[in-house]
Symmetry: C3
Subunit: 416 residues, 3 copies
């Protein structure tokens, strides 16, 4: 007989062993998925998109996440605002998914009309006793961190978002995201749990065999290795790279560009990591030839400052001199995750003149498709009754061990 008394989520959390991947149920169960949405997508800060999604007053963008539909817009004063996309009358969606340009927010059902500040301006046939001031659109907590819009759907958002804001000030401002525009968006549906998408992103153990395009510019050694697994030649190459990086980081920092790793990954509420790394080969950008793909550079206009990555628990980004990629990870089900990546370029860069779109996007477009296949086979495997949590490499998968530990801690902190 099957054990009908399925274990509580807390029992699954107990079963997690340090240095090992998570117990199957934490990746696959519907109730864990619901708990994940509640804890990690409603009660923590999540990335929903760059502010350049809404460059001008009246621009609006709708994002669906964790069952909520959000309107991000720029109001008449040029300020970003975020609202729930739910009419206060009978709840109809006000805007469709995607982007639009609006002067007011008009619900198509009965023409209830809201200002871009969220105030209800017009609601016919409601009578004298109806109080419009109680029926504004519900606002959403958000922070604009160096041009990256983060929201928290809870009324009690984690305070340590301030640490990420400091990173935005120090490391992202030179890239001036406000003055970029979205050159391309790729939506990939991954057939796996969102945590497998994040695990896949936090190691480069799989890069050499799976990402020929990315490996032109990306150096997997930066994410750890077992010296004994390397050939004598590779060991020597690794030593040379470490020495080079040590010198380069000193040079960058001396110029005023903070570069060292910041790891806000354990014993924290918000989870992020940033570091400036060397780009391989031509050294300029994550493109097929590692050279800048865009002639008009972003922000301060330097293409010799390597690649600054920023990882969150539902995002990763790479800041380079010629373009920036930003990726949001949005769970759609226990075994289904949306990866939405955008390529940002200087707002004045013109396609066909300043850049070739394929050259700009092909490396990460291919990498995302390769990763989606890996996440799919990973999810299929952890769903198999024969799966048992395996050992993480102590050299190349420490980031995963920390993520799994942080995951368990945050679940505990929210009562599981």
């Amino acid at each position: 007989m099957l054990d009908q008394s399925r274990s509580a989520i807390s029992t699954l959390l107990d079963e997690r062993r340090e240095g090992h991947s998570l117990p199957a149920g934490l990746y696959t169960r519907e109730d864990v998925y619901e708990a994940d949405l509640d804890v990690f997508f409603r009660k923590h800060w999540i990335f929903i998109g760059p502010e350049c999604d809404v460059p001008e007053p009246g621009d609006a963008s709708v994002i669906d996440v964790a069952g909520s539909s959000l309107i991000m817009l720029r109001d008449d004063d040029g300020e970003v605002r975020v609202f729930h996309n739910v009419c206060r009358h009978r709840g109809a969606r006000i805007l469709d998914e995607g982007t639009s340009v609006v002067s007011k927010l008009v619900c198509p059902y009965h023409q209830w009309t809201y200002e871009l500040t969220g105030e209800l301006a017009y609601a016919p046939h409601m009578g004298r006793d109806f109080d419009k001031t109680c029926n504004s659109l519900k606002p959403v907590n958000f922070r604009n961190i160096g041009g990256l819009i983060h929201v928290c759907l809870s009324d009690d958002p984690p305070a340590d978002i301030d640490a990420l804001e400091a990173v935005g000030r120090d490391r992202l401002l030179p890239y001036d995201l406000k003055n970029t525009r979205v050159a391309f968006t790729q939506d990939v549906i991954e057939h796996g749990n969102w945590k497998l998408t994040i695990e896949n992103n936090r190691e480069c153990y799989h890069c050499a065999a799976n990402h020929p395009e990315l490996c032109v510019s990306y150096i997997d050694l930066d994410f750890g290795f077992d010296p004994e697994s390397l050939s004598p030649e590779d060991r020597e190459r690794a030593a040379r790279h470490e020495a080079l990086y040590a010198r380069q980081i000193v040079a960058w920092e001396a110029e005023g560009y903070p570069s060292a790793a910041i790891e806000h990954l354990s014993k924290t509420e918000s989870n992020f990591r940033t570091q400036r790394l060397i780009i391989s080969g031509a050294g300029e950008s994550q493109t097929p030839d590692a050279r800048a793909a865009v002639a008009k550079l972003t922000g301060i206009g330097r293409k010799d400052l390597g690649d600054t990555h920023l990882w969150g628990h539902n995002s990763w980004h790479h800041f380079m001199g010629d373009h920036i990629i930003v990726a949001a990870v949005i769970p759609l089900g226990p075994d289904k995750t949306l990866l939405r990546m955008k390529w940002l370029v200087n707002k004045d860069a013109v396609e066909g003149m300043d850049y070739d779109l394929h050259n700009l996007t092909s490396v990460w477009v291919a990498t995302n498709e390769e990763d989606a296949a890996l996440v799919g086979r990973s999810h299929a495997g952890v769903s198999d009754p024969a799966y048992v949590p395996g050992m993480y490499s102590p050299f190349t998968e420490k980031q995963l061990d920390w993520f799994a530990g942080w995951y368990v801690d945050r679940m505990r902190a929210h009562g599981y």
Copy 2:
């Protein structure tokens, strides 16, 4: 932590506030959907189709509703009968969905053969001890109300169906549904809860902005308005219309055509409303130019008797001089509803000669598609965690408030 002890349905019913739309869970939850099927689609009378779906002896029509498949047929004596479409042997479906012409009902699996009266006539290889008389097709309770077939899947059907039968006698007989035929059928899948489909149908607050085709012949003022929301011109137009309607209703009644509203909507088991209303413009029919679309009229042959509507809790119908529309609302899931509309014309009317099909159907075909989009965005919104029940307009949405109240009462009456 999520509240693991999900509230009982009765708690949701408690939360409903008069004058407001229903709590989210009553629209979205799977357990409420199952309860709805049980209470409203098995234990109340529901409309399944017009009797002219089976005009001749041997005509059969299969309708799937609430998990049951029903065979409506006309037997050799010309009588309508309704059976469960389940072979008494191993349960196979006897007929496929749609219509067919049969002399007997033969199960394709093992050729068990039933008379059109439901009696088992033939079952080979069953041996001498097998009692065919215990294995007739199961009959279904039904009433033919003015040509509209209503069934109740329960053994204890509500008795107040007699009130609807009286309406059938008084108001529908002049249209002589028996001598109509189905000129067109439109199936629309609405991505919303069936109660949102019904709510949408019971107000015309949304008509002006959403139904340009219907508004040629339909007068939204008939369903309430807030005088203060109208411009001085519209207020005057409303006053003129009220006066006109007051005179018209007297004239119709004097001719023997009952017209005043009958509202069997609160404190009743069966839920219905009927009223004869003025058609706008040319005044004849719900067509693009408000003129009769069919040269050969139905029944008594008058096109100056306006539009008699009849609403049930899973149906709405409009009776006009040249044609009749009948609509059945059939839930397919908590967030999925089939709307099946049929256009009935005089059985002797010939397409291309007596009417143009597009001219006959285009107004409601467009209206149904527009409504499906509204119901979809409504369901998406009530599924959002940010939804809270909103206020119904005291002028234009009273019908919805009564429907919500009736819904709660009927759930209570069945033990929820």
Copy 3:
């Protein structure tokens, strides 16, 4: 109010009445489906494919069943092996579904590399303390029975598989499955519960009206009949056939070919039946004209030995002189079942020269499609609230009664 305390599975088992089809919930409920997978697809021996799926060393075939993905392969010593298709690192699928040729099993994610014996040969970056010997691929219990691979996913497999093994020795060896190859594979998705697929296969009551192609070579009388249901002519035909069969079985047995029915169907753990039957008409094979479709015969090379069938609880097979069909039944959901049939021919037979593929396969291809439609309408019917278990024919459906009884017994034996 719906009865919220849904009955336990054991109550459903109690409700089963001898001589009648199963209570609805045993065919339709999700929890019963999960229990079925556990009891009948994990704790009993199931057929997964013929050994000729992997004819040469390095050939591998992946089969998904009951949530498990299995690799069947032939190792370098020519031995068949079966493993779980789950990498011991982070669980990724190693091989994709279908067949492949491999020298090692390399996980595409991080290149963990296993020998064809399952041993982990290579796992980079894991450090000195990592013990490869604890990380072999997990093997699966299997038996090669006359060329038919059976697995049991439990550590405590039923011992009476020995009885089936004896059948393999006596009856299947003359067909020499090892020296056949797969000429064709048909996958059919049936929209019904796996037990309805098996019930459908265990009676020929439905054959005459549904399987015109099969009835050329197949004799439905062999599976029982009620003499009183036959016409005088058919009764005489039946008597002649019984006499013929009585003589034929003596002749076959005298030649050393066991033929009589073996029924291992009740009070057993493993469920199977075998019998050698006469082929109708030309008498050679289940083809459109009942003649051998393949010039190069299988095994001992005789086409006058009729048709030996072998039924298991998730399979059926027919062994004939010119070809063999093997069918696996794999549940995909409570109402969804995969039927995978393969046609095996002498490995040296060449398509277009020794046989015409359409002539070889058309009878069972059509029969499977016809059966899929019947299973679909059967499942639809048992899902209807109006379904009540019906009587099995005491003449033509005894096999179904025994199967239902065995099903209930095995559920009981596993604690339900």
